[in-house]
Subunit: 339 residues, 2 copies
Amino acid sequence: MNSNLQDYSHKRLNILTGEWVLVSPHRAKRPWQGQNEAVNNEQRPSYDPECYLCPGNTRINGEVNPEYTDVYIFTNDFAALQSDSPDFSVNDGLLVAESEKGICKVICFSPDHSKSLPDMEPEEIQKVVFAWQKEYKELGENDLINYVQIFENKGAVMGCSNPHPHGQIWSQSTLPNEVAKKDTQQLNYFKEKNRSILGDYLAQELDKKERIIYENDAFVVLVPFWAVWPFEAMIAPKKHQTNILEMSDDEALLYAEAISVLTKAYDKIFNTSFPYSSGIHQAPTNGKDNSHWHWHMSFYPPLLRSATVKKFMVGYEMFGTPQRDISAEKAAKVIRDLV
Amino acid sequence: MNSNLQDYSHKRLNILTGEWVLVSPHRAKRPWQGQNEAVNNEQRPSYDPECYLCPGNTRINGEVNPEYTDVYIFTNDFAALQSDSPDFSVNDGLLVAESEKGICKVICFSPDHSKSLPDMEPEEIQKVVFAWQKEYKELGENDLINYVQIFENKGAVMGCSNPHPHGQIWSQSTLPNEVAKKDTQQLNYFKEKNRSILGDYLAQELDKKERIIYENDAFVVLVPFWAVWPFEAMIAPKKHQTNILEMSDDEALLYAEAISVLTKAYDKIFNTSFPYSSGIHQAPTNGKDNSHWHWHMSFYPPLLRSATVKKFMVGYEMFGTPQRDISAEKAAKVIRDLV
Ligand SMILES: O=P(O)(O)O[C@H]1O[C@H](CO)[C@@H](O)[C@H](O)[C@H]1O
Ligand SMILES: O=P(O)(O)O[C@H]1O[C@H](CO)[C@@H](O)[C@H](O)[C@H]1O
């Protein structure tokens, strides 16, 4: 590895989006006098009578949650996307808008209010994976839906308003911005080489080992060369799979193991329940040939120096380019050493 | 205006970047049980002996600030970009990186520690504008620099580590991501119509008045049709100007007035010193014909419902598309009514 990458400001290309990240490895020593995040390391009860996600409790719209025992899924009571809205579009000079329909769901990972993914057994996480597969399939079969975004916001600092272990699924008619970028980049490469760009990239990383955190028979966990967030990581299948339905039940357990290993290591970095947003990018459900897609799950955790000091993606990052201080290689080593 | 835009989920096109924003106007009623931000409404002293930006104080590297009386500029002590680093590039299969050089500066808006832009007189803000012009010119003339990003992070929630009124300037060799997108979109339109896309857009908005917050002889302040942040706003010159050097001294005062009016109104929305990141996008200093550029300043403020509840750009926004609840038209009315 070119040692300049550890010493001098440079930019790295995200091959999946075609965009850059600015890396300032020399800047990690900067002192911090700014805002600190609150940490909440208190142990939660297994059941909270006030939690609208716990089994048997009543939600804000009056519905009562069943006494569920593993995963529980329902339609979001305050969905950002509606399925029964009219079709319309605005094409008035430079004012351009289009109606966007969709279905938003909430998925409780466990009935146990006190847990989060790193506290769950791989077999329990495997049930979450099965639920993601079921939703991707069912929503994808709906004529209204051409893309299914599975994600989790974990921790108050990531805008999560309820600590009960849960994620969300927002599915919609058109491709979101980030997905459209990845669709284009993957397609261009596939057309030229008839191979998946992410597959070729993973082969390179498995050879170099510098940014690998963990691997098992079916999955690799690594810090991408172009990672933006301080401890950003990616989980991807070694085999070329366009979406999560191509994963066998055995592979689903290996995937669950990869999630477990990564999130457990995360919690050890600053001895705190590590906040992040995670999401799965995979083939659209638009009925087209999506052979160019190689599905992957990314974790974007904001903490930088301690349980209370996060990286702010503000001024320069909003107007210019995302910027990071610690190099991807150093971050990978920190996480790998905690596996 | 199509009333569906106030009632149903839809997406709007940002004509400057080519990207979309998802709007969910029906969702503004969602209850909030998540993280609240700390508010600090205490009056600061005019001079703080602990502040490394106050006149006469010593900075972390031992340098002593002069007894400055209006604007003071120095090179960032922890610059993210270096000017004296080696040239290098990595082109190893799918690992692509390039050295990036630059110069980062800090600009103190006032010697008075207690102030922020809305507390300053337009004549004082005009001096800040003159300083921006001087820096844009000088940095732009440096062979190393092809783009000059002027910005401000205001408030602890925006990662600002010192409340002394100040902004930053990061200048560099290549175009940052956001600037590259706007360069392409503006160029495509200009090639076709020989007019600036932003100029045509402003004419449309001045005609409709629905999203206008304020205007004077030289500037318009509005909420763009495609605004992402709850109370996002833009200040732009009515005349086609590619960069801030094309502004006369009289126009600089009118620009200062526009900044003053907008930031004063912001502080009234939730009766708090309103946090935001602001930035100026303008023509690159790459020596090319940049006639397609129309410079503008954007404000991205995070607060959504109160002085303590912000909009989180997390899971769906990071993996999909930025999403907003309150419509641009409603936000414009809220701000306009406070001018
Ligand atoms: O340079 P500052 O004010 O210390 O740092 C702040 O602004 C920078 C530029 O937007 C960001 O990279 C940092 O994350 C933020 O904390
Ligand atoms: O749906 P929630 O968890 O209430 O809301 C959270 O996630 C959403 C999807 O990323 C964001 O739009 C919200 O800003 C955030 O607070």
